[in-house]
């Protein structure tokens, strides 16, 4: 397929995934605060950190941060920005995605610009975030069931899973940025509340609790293990990266595991790096250090995908004339 089109597919999926994730984080944070007393300065800052915003100078109160992360068009990580970019990518390749996907995407674009949505935001915040989450969920479903499972679809999947791996890593890493008031707070209600919030932000609360926990006294390490390594959980880092590797193998037309392109090599490197570790290694190496490595590597993988598929160096085809001369000189 056309390199530029592949790039639009990849980014459309990433932006959609990003919007869903942001909505989930905001929603969880909002509901969580109802149950636990978390110090004010810790309530909303993590939300910014997950999106990689470290220089926010506005009011860190709930309404202000939610407004910034939902509506601010100048904030590239806000929900409206992510969805606007997703829709713009979709508009450019609307002949590539299925008509049904485009119509849904466009429907939500119009919805997001309607007065009705502002009302919903003000009157029923939880439902608003749920609707935003549903956009990506619905589009992913429509995509899988109405689009040919060819190259364009693979690039969409690739973008979705790479973004998801990155988001899970960032969400888990937020624990590093929230300092508990006192060391004694480890294992307390507040500490537990953080872990639950992280699980819920990744939609992992139920699946996590359905698993037998090795050491119930250490929820932190169990949650980290689950979100990094659990291959059955669709948002775990390992699961997402394995999916990325599979997509890249399908795109390259090579059997899974054989690395041919720079993109294949970069993704395999990270998967192998994780495979060589378990949760104990991660804790001793440092959870933050591990997650930083994962996030940095997803950037490198993105660059490798870019140079392999989106802006590849063009290997010029030999012209018929040159071929002829070569054959001739060989025969002489």
């Amino acid at each position: 397929m056309i390199s530029r089109v592949a790039e639009h597919c990849f980014w459309m999926a990433r932006y959609l995934e990003r919007a869903e994730n942001t909505a989930r984080v905001l929603e969880v944070n909002q509901t969580l605060l109802l149950d636990f007393h978390v110090p004010v300065e810790q309530q909303w800052k993590p939300v910014l950190i997950i999106s990689g915003i470290h220089d926010y100078e506005g009011d860190t109160g709930g309404e202000s941060v939610q407004g910034y992360m939902t509506w601010d068009e100048e904030n590239p990580f806000s929900i409206v920005s992510s969805l606007a970019w997703a829709r713009e990518n979709a508009r450019i390749i609307r002949e590539v995605i299925s008509a049904e996907m485009w119509e849904r995407m466009n429907y939500y674009h119009l919805w997001l610009n309607s007065p009705a949505v502002r009302e919903l935001y003000h009157n029923n915040r939880g439902e608003f975030y749920a609707q935003i989450r549903r956009i990506n969920q619905l589009l992913t479903g429509i995509c899988d069931s109405t689009m040919a499972h060819g190259e364009a679809w693979e690039f969409l999947r690739l973008g979705r899973h790479l973004e998801r791996a990155c988001q899970t890593a960032r969400t888990l890493d937020v624990k590093y940025h929230i300092l508990l008031p006192k060391l004694d707070d480890v294992g307390t209600a507040v500490d537990n509340a953080h872990w639950i919030a992280i699980l819920m932000s990744c939609s992992g609360y139920e699946p996590f609790h359905k698993k037998p926990m090795a050491d119930p006294s250490d929820p932190g390490s169990a949650v980290a293990e689950f979100l990094i390594f659990d291959d059955d959980f669709p948002r775990s880092i390992h699961h997402c990266l394995t999916e990325c590797r599979r997509c890249l193998a399908d795109i390259a037309g090579t059997p899974n595991g054989e690395a041919h392109t720079p993109a294949d090599r970069k993704i395999s490197e990270l998967v192998h790096w994780l495979d060589a570790r378990d949760i104990k290694d991660v804790i001793s190496f440092g959870l933050h250090q591990t997650l930083t490595h994962v996030v940095d590597s997803t950037h490198t993988i993105g660059e490798a995908i870019q140079s392999t598929y989106f802006a590849p160096e063009i290997r010029l085809p030999e012209s018929p004339a040159k071929k002829l001369t070569q054959t001739q000189s060989q025969t002489q």
Binding site: W102, N106, R315
Partner: protein
């Protein structure tokens, strides 16, 4: 109470009936009406349509109308107006009362359009080769060779299959007597066909039963016809089937929706300039699996912007070297380069003579009488009658650069007088033709509004005409300007078999 009302008789009951769509419709006093006879009864071929549609209560009509508008908005069938940072997407106003072309008249129109197209292609071939038509004094040399659309780079070159105008959108109008006349030929990159197809799709959703009752000719074959036509004129050595791409100026072009729509329905790749490159006079597409050779380019980019190496150097939209590849015979461009000379408004008056000259036939479709300001007598007549004529700049389209004499001010007339005197070659004038009207929904209910018709003619090894075409309608009362850029709307066009 109910009984009492009933007992009072018929009149009360009639008064209680909701108003119907065509109640009180009065046709235009002078224009030909597309649905009704002057006495208010429907034309024979429109009887079923008028009867069925006429049963609709106004409120029901509103519901359908809102449904159609919503469908356009939800599907993003829009054009973009860049007045702010993100751009505002707008829908073209769409009127759900169809415009009808009688099935009995259509075959003659079809033959007339094919005849005209054939002559235009022969003219282009002649102009870029022997120039017989100039040598024999039929078309003045300075008019043809001095046209902005004439490309000296095309001289001596024959495009694959000998086809110049693969896609033509010929604008027809219907005069007071109901006769179809050709207003202009669009042989460069005519647009609008996606609206024909989308209008139809939406009408089928809004009025499914009407289609069952009236025998309406299909329009849905257009994208495949076009794709097959383009494949049929691929250069020698093309892949089988040939690789066709649609080259768009890009997502910020106002017609991007149409480009995307056509690519989707033709099953070809939609590309922008940066997706293509030329190496050793061969055009390649940049794909995830490396370069792929391209055989046919359906370009929606004007000649000027096509190739910065051959034409405008500052074009960032084009493909450097593509014209060289074309001249080397390695790629087909549709439409060919240099077709603008055939749809130049100053060359237009000679098309009837072209038909006689190349085909030895009488033109089936007639032109609107035209005064060519390049001719001293015509210029004098034009200047003397500015208040009665429509004056048009020959290289403008979209309703720009136009003087509508009867509704003009003295200042506007003075301005045009000066312009004509300064550059006579740039102007033509025509008598004001009262365009036919078609019943259209307005704020005052259904009222007559002027319409034109743009049929689309597709040429590969053979020529095919899309049944009907795009009906554009002026939405302002009395206005004769139907261009979308001037606030016009569109309608679905039905070629209805007679007697249905």
């Amino acid at each position: 109470m109910t009984t009492a009302t009933r007992s009072e008789g018929q009149e009360t009951r009639v008064a209680k009936v909701a108003p119907r769509l065509f109640d009180g419709y009065s046709p235009h006093p002078t224009a030909f009406d597309e649905l009704f006879e002057p006495d208010g009864s429907p034309h024979d071929h429109c009887r079923t349509l008028v009867e069925k549609l006429g049963r609709l209560a106004i409120s029901e009509f509103h519901t359908r109308r809102a449904g159609a508008d919503l469908a356009f908005v939800n599907q993003g069938i829009t054009f973009t107006v860049y007045s702010d940072r993100r751009g505002t997407e707008k829908i073209f106003p769409f009127d759900i009362v169809p415009r009808v072309v009688p099935g009995g008249e259509w075959p003659r129109m079809e033959t007339g359009l094919v005849q005209r197209l054939k002559a235009l292609n022969l003219f282009l071939n002649d102009i870029y080769h022997d120039q017989r038509i100039i040598k024999e004094g039929i078309v003045p040399a300075d008019l043809a060779l001095g046209s902005k659309g004439f490309r000296k780079e095309m001289v001596g070159f024959t495009p694959p299959g000998g086809v110049y105008i693969h896609i033509c959108g010929t604008d027809l109008i219907r005069d007071q007597h109901g006769e179809f006349l050709v207003l202009e030929d669009n042989g460069r990159t005519p647009s609008g066909v996606s609206y024909v197809l989308e209008n139809r799709a939406i009408m089928k959703k809004v009025f499914p039963h009407l289609f069952q009752d009236c025998k309406v000719k299909r329009v849905e074959d257009y994208p495949h016809r076009l794709r097959d036509a383009l494949r049929s004129v691929a250069p020698a050595g093309a892949a089988s089937p040939p690789t066709v791409v649609l080259l768009s100026p890009g997502p910020y072009n106002s017609a991007y929706f149409e480009h995307s729509f056509l690519a989707r329905h033709m099953g070809v790749e939609l590309v922008i300039g940066q997706d293509l490159f030329v190496h050793d006079d061969v055009v390649y597409l940049k794909t995830t699996r490396g370069p792929q050779k391209v055989d046919v380019i359906y370009r929606r980019l004007d000649d000027d912007f096509l190739d910065p190496k051959a034409f405008r150097e500052d074009s960032l939209l084009g493909v450097p070297g593509v014209f060289g590849a074309y001249r080397a015979g390695n790629v087909t461009l549709a439409n060919a380069v240099g077709t603008g000379v055939a749809d130049d408004k100053a060359v237009y008056p000679y098309v009837e003579d072209m038909i006689r000259f190349y085909l030895s036939e009488e033109p089936i479709l007639r032109n609107v009488p035209t005064y060519i300001c390049a001719k001293p007598d015509d210029m004098k007549y034009t200047l003397d009658h500015l208040g009665e004529l429509v004056v048009k700049a020959v290289n403008e389209s979209g309703g720009y650069g136009m003087l509508m004499g009867p509704s003009s001010t003295q200042t506007q007339r003075n301005e045009f007088r000066a312009k004509i005197l300064e550059n006579p070659r740039n102007y033509i004038a025509q008598p004001v033709v009262t365009l036919s009207t078609s019943p259209t929904w307005t704020d005052e209910g259904v009222a007559p509004r002027h319409v034109d018709l743009r049929p689309y003619i597709v040429t590969g090894r053979t020529t095919w005409v899309l049944p009907g075409g795009l009906t554009r309608t002026a939405l302002v009362k009395g206005s004769l300007v139907v261009n979308s850029s001037q606030g016009g709307g569109s309608k679905d066009t039905w070629v209805i078999e007679n007697g249905s």
